[in-house]
Amino acid sequence: MSEETRKILEMLANGKVTVPEAERLLAALGGNDAAPSGTGKRNLKYLVVTVNGSKDENGKPVNVNVRVPLQMLRAGVKLASLIPVVAKDKINQALSEQGMKFDVDSLKPENLQEIIDAMEELTVDVDGGQETVRVRCE
């Protein structure tokens, strides 16, 4: 870590600069140091879901690979914004009954971008004995 980076982080810790200002300053320093969260991001395009299931009666494994363009999620969220409020309430209620406390109304395109950015480093692995499920972005 260079002296300049250390100073910027100290200023951030002391509250002299805000997080976006610190990001801009770190970005202005160039690529000599570790990139801040706003720079050096991979250009994520796909959400990949891989399911390696148990073997069927023929002894062959069941595999499912789905690659969904993230643009499709964005378009879907935009389209979801047209859902009437009454229907959204019913969806929220149904999700709540399934144990998912989630407000569909809070899913907006700008929020989705934040989620996608956060998924850069995210990989979900579910190992259920013979079946494995893997979710990642690429």
């Binding site: 069941v62 879907g76 389209l79 009437p84």
Partner: protein, 89 residues
């Protein structure tokens, strides 16, 4: 925004797949849009004043965007008997 050009389908036990030329449907889609557009704009003059009406007006555009965003969608399912691949390019 460009809609998918090809759809690749492959089903077990075929060794080869089907390339469906979606781009041949583009002129038909354009023709449909040109036919519907005057009515859509006319309806827009009345519907734009109501929130629900605005949603109705925006829906076709968003559906088209969703259709275009299908490019790159890949689904592969394999088991002992079935081997299905669907790709939109």
């Amino acid at each position: 925004m460009i809609p998918p050009s090809f759809c690749y389908l492959k089903f077990h036990p075929q060794r080869w797949g089907w390339w469906l030329p979606f781009f041949l449907l583009w002129p038909l889609l354009l023709l449909l849009v040109l036919l519907v557009l005057p009515f859509w704009l006319l309806a827009g003059l009345f519907l734009v004043w109501f929130p629900a009406g605005r949603a109705i007006l925006a829906a076709p555009v968003l559906v088209y965007e969703l259709f275009c965003s299908l490019r790159g969608l890949t689904v592969k399912v394999q088991d002992g008997l079935n081997d299905i691949s669907i790709k939109l390019i």
